[in-house]
Symmetry: C2
DNA sequence: CTATGTGAACTCGTTCACAGCT
DNA sequence: AGCTGTGAACGAGTTCACATAG
């Protein structure tokens, strides 16, 4: 088998790159952050007072022991040599490093099937993510409620986001409105955006952008399928 | 701003790694494949008889010209020096390389909100992906139809998948059943799996696995938010 | 003697600069 | 002159081996 670290795609600005509000904090590699989140989930199902070895954790998380230790070396981790890691201590440590400590307020724009799936997604709260506002542009949806949150008109996003202290935005709208929605959210003070809409999206410097493109994911699988069909071009 | 190539997460087997049905085909880097898919989308909105420069395409796709050309260098691409790329020729070339040529049949397991969102997702057909079978374990859902496809009992997956010639499977079930569903699909001949369920998933060697973990994506944004809060530890 | 922590080699991917067509 | 194609430098991330602490 071949486990690949999922995908991606950048869709944002040309290069500008590293700029950011805070200066280049010499810190945890993004790839490591992703894995730390996974370790956190694995740790969650273990008794708080217990000790695990890197081998055990790695096994559960699907990575290699050495890699796991490398990841943990980025935090002020405190494993005990010859023994292992205290589940409680390690959990706290990762939480602190990753920001699962403080809670972040997120806005969700676009309440089609995908948006509703996201709205209903558990595991948000567990990770310190609080969905604080819902937006859509469809008059038929505006005003209705999902759970105990009302769906606001996307046009009101700037005001609502500020009022709710939202810093993270999720875009689950059709491709056409994605850019406009992003602009609106950013105007509301959103500094990190997770975009599910296909197509390029541009955000101002200082705003963090991540994309998940379903079509691209599938396309990559298709690629591997195709490759299977033609073992080797011609040696 | 900081555009990051999206995420990920492995969750699969420990290492086994590179093994695969076909021998290591010296071929296109995965990162490049992801971008090629994007270029394809950009190209789709251009007149077939037209010529674009790497600069123009790169601008639209959100990458740098040099990088784009590097990507294109992996295929038998034929740009004309001093001029640019023929939209038609380039499109065909990418299609062929990526496998958007032949059509792949995919099975979708789990028809909750996310599953339905996926089932309704356009852009599949456009990319040569055909949803050929739907599965769920909920008796209330089995037998109903979405579009013109009936929802089958996941237990029938092996038979149905083989009958339908399915090679790609999408798992949109709750975490608890993910592993079992994966096993079932694989038994039905599925060779590539896209997993949306959190938690680790193990597939046999030779089966390609990709994961999209919403919680992890969000967690990464939260991380950047947190980092923003503390500019620099203490110089 | 066990399991952690990490420097150093290595692999993969990105960036750049420029040579080569047209 | 203009834009493609790519070798070579660079950087990020992964793997490994081993020194180190309990």
């Amino acid at each position: 088998m071949t486990v690949k670290t999922a995908a991606v795609l950048d869709g944002g600005a040309p290069s500008a790159a590293t700029s950011d509000t805070s200066r280049a904090v010499r810190s945890i590699p993004e790839a490591t952050v992703a894995r730390l989140a996974t370790y956190l989930r694995v740790l969650a199902v273990l008794p708080a007072d217990a000790v695990v070895s890197s081998a055990e954790l790695a096994e559960s998380a699907g990575v290699k022991p050495a890699g796991l230790r490398k990841d943990l070396s980025f935090l002020d981790s405190q494993g005990t040599r010859g023994v292992g890691y205290s589940v409680r201590a390690l959990t706290d440590s990762i939480r602190r490093a990753i920001g699962a400590g403080r809670s972040h307020r997120v806005a969700l724009a676009g309440l089609g099937n995908l948006g509703q799936a996201l709205a209903g997604y558990a595991g948000f709260a567990a990770r310190g993510l609080v969905i604080a506002a819902l937006f859509d542009a469809d008059p038929a949806k505006i005003g209705r409620r999902i759970g105990d949150l009302p769906i606001h008109d996307i046009a009101d996003a700037p005001a609502v986001c500020r009022a709710e202290g939202v810093t993270i935005g999720i875009i689950a709208t059709p491709e056409e409105c994605a850019q406009q929605v992003a602009d609106t959210l950013v105007r509301g003070g959103v500094r990190s955006v997770l975009d599910f809409a296909p197509g390029p999206l541009r955000v101002p410097p200082g705003v963090e952008l991540r994309r998940v493109d379903l079509a691209v994911e599938l396309q990559i699988l298709a690629f591997h399928e195709t490759r299977r069909a033609s073992p080797v071009p011609a040696p």
